[in-house]
């Protein structure tokens, strides 16, 4: 199991890309793994050789044939060896309904 974490993004090495993927578009030439909500900062890969895909559920996958890096304005850079990776965003618990206690 090979995993890296940069802030609220988990990068996890997987055996191979799953099926049913679409290309995930670059933004100004960068692969953006996650945008900061208010800061405008981003977890990103700049290497042109890296490939990015997205499945129907919106999960991101990265294929790196030459070593790449994940950069962010506020976090240390994470070096990414060649391989295939799944990207997971951190989630937070939000109660869906309020259960009232009967009197």
């Amino acid at each position: 199991m090979k995993q890296f974490r940069q802030g609220d993004v988990l990068i996890e090495r997987i055996e191979a890309l799953p099926g049913n993927l679409k290309d995930y578009k670059r933004d100004n030439g960068r692969i953006i793994l996650a945008y900061g909500e208010v800061t405008g900062h981003a977890h990103a890969i700049d290497e042109e050789t890296a490939k990015s895909f997205v499945n129907e559920a919106g999960e991101l996958f990265i294929e790196v044939d030459e070593p790449a890096e994940i950069v962010h304005e506020e976090h240390a850079t994470i070096p990414l060896p060649t391989g295939v990776y799944r990207i997971t965003h951190q989630r937070e618990y939000t109660p869906q309904e309020i259960r009232r206690v009967a009197d």
Binding site: Q3, Q6, L10, E92, Y93, I98, R100
Partner: protein, 403 residues
């Protein structure tokens, strides 16, 4: 008259356009067309075989409409009982903006009747029958005609695809809240505050009937009555009905909604009317002004004493969940190399369980910032909590490199 048994594909394709049109009308923040609304009001009194109202007030919000209608009825009682000497007495009691608006409108409309000694008795109770007569003429009769002439499957299709779609955006999210605020703020139980009907917030009803009329080409005499009601929906915000007095309210000047259509305002009222009346709401939960405008005034004590669980949750969010944990003596229930797990019991609501983690990259001053993430309240260890935030079991989560 033609019965409607079936919808054509072309008619079905028009559903979204009706929904869009009437949601827009229901949530309109344009100024009311009072002249058009007044014309429809007079027609409705006529078709209900009622005397024309002596006074038609134009007010800036549903609140001042209900309060103003109540005041106007009492003023009329006074005026016609004691004639003009009451004017100065009443005026001396008149202080608020609502009262003076009502007074000047009532007086200017009845002055000539008083002077010419047209003294009719205004003995009606505030809880008059007018609203229910309007209801029966322009609402239930239309409904019963629809029932008899539109096949039930067609009705349920239009109900679910048009009426309830509009309702979920206009009535459920906005009208119900406006109504409950008006009701709670107009002081008197017998003020007839509930004598209101029609205006933009009845959009789903207008969408439903106008679809049958305009798209299905349903014809019926009763649609003449409906037309006046519909014109109120197109021209104003709210109508308060009474014998001798009818009050028309303007539309809101602002309606703020979140992505789910719930009333919501950051740093302002979520709904605000031209006369300044309105209220604060956070994602559909109505709260006091300070919760939105000066959240720094929220205290742990205030949160713990709040009896409404939804309002309490908003207050905790505004206060900061992590700060609340720290300041309210939450219990640390577990600690490991992944972080610390905290729990705070909240009466009548789920416990707040949060994991405190250290940022892996130091700040410029060399300090490591801590942050809190709320997790499933059933979680018992910090490792489990952090794994959960990435959708993993603890054994699936152990990053070799973190930053």
């Amino acid at each position: 008259m033609k019965r409607i048994d079936k919808l054509t594909p072309k008619q079905i394709a028009q559903f979204p356009a009706y929904v869009e049109k009437w949601v827009k009308i229901g949530l309109s923040t344009d100024r009311a067309d009072f002249d058009m609304a007044e014309k429809s009001v007079r027609e409705i009194y006529k078709l209900c075989k009622l005397k024309p109202p002596k006074v038609i007030l134009r007010m800036g919000s549903p609140f001042s409409a209900s309060l103003g209608g109540f005041l106007a009825v009492h003023l009329l009682n006074e005026i016609f009982k004691k004639k003009s000497q009451v004017r100065s007495q009443v005026r001396s009691q008149v202080e608020s903006q609502v009262e003076s608006q009502v007074w000047s409108q009532v007086w200017s409309q009845v002055e000539s009747q008083v002077e010419s000694q047209v003294l009719s008795q205004v003995e009606s109770q505030v809880l008059s029958q007018v609203e229910s007569q309007v209801w029966s003429q322009v609402w239930s009769q239309v409904e019963s005609q629809v029932r008899s002439q539109v096949e039930s499957q067609v009705r349920s299709q239009v109900e679910s695809q048009v009426r309830s779609q509009v309702r979920s955006q206009v009535e459920s999210q906005v009208r119900s809240q406006v109504w409950s605020q008006v009701e709670s703020q107009v002081w008197s139980q017998d003020s007839g505050v509930e004598n209101y009907r029609s205006g933009q917030f009845w959009a789903s009803w207008f969408a439903y009937i106008s679809f049958l009329r305009d798209s299905c080409l349903w014809e019926n005499e009763i649609l003449e009555n409906f037309k006046h009601d519909e014109n109120l929906g197109l021209s104003c915000g709210w109508v308060w009905w009474h014998e001798d007095v009818c009050v028309i309210s303007d539309r809101p000047a602002y309606i703020g909604r979140d992505s789910q259509g719930r009333l919501h305002g950051d740093n302002r009222m979520a709904i605000e009317y031209p006369d300044g009346w309105g209220f604060y709401s956070v994602h559909g939960v109505v709260v006091d002004e300070y919760v939105v405008m000066t959240p720094e005034k929220i205290t742990v004590d205030d949160i713990e004493k709040e009896s409404n669980a939804e309002v309490r949750r908003v207050k905790i969010d505004k206060y900061g969940q992590d700060r609340f944990l720290k300041d309210s003596n939450a219990t640390m229930i577990h600690k490991d190399e992944f972080g610390k797990l905290w729990r705070k019991e909240v009466p009548n609501d789920e416990n707040i369980v949060m994991v405190e983690v250290l940022n892996s990259t130091p700040e410029p001053d060399g300090e490591f910032k801590t942050y809190f993430i709320r997790v499933d309240p059933n979680i018992t260890t910090a490792h489990q909590a952090v794994s959960w935030t990435f959708g993993k079991e603890p054994k699936q989560y152990s990053p070799q490199l973190q930053s």
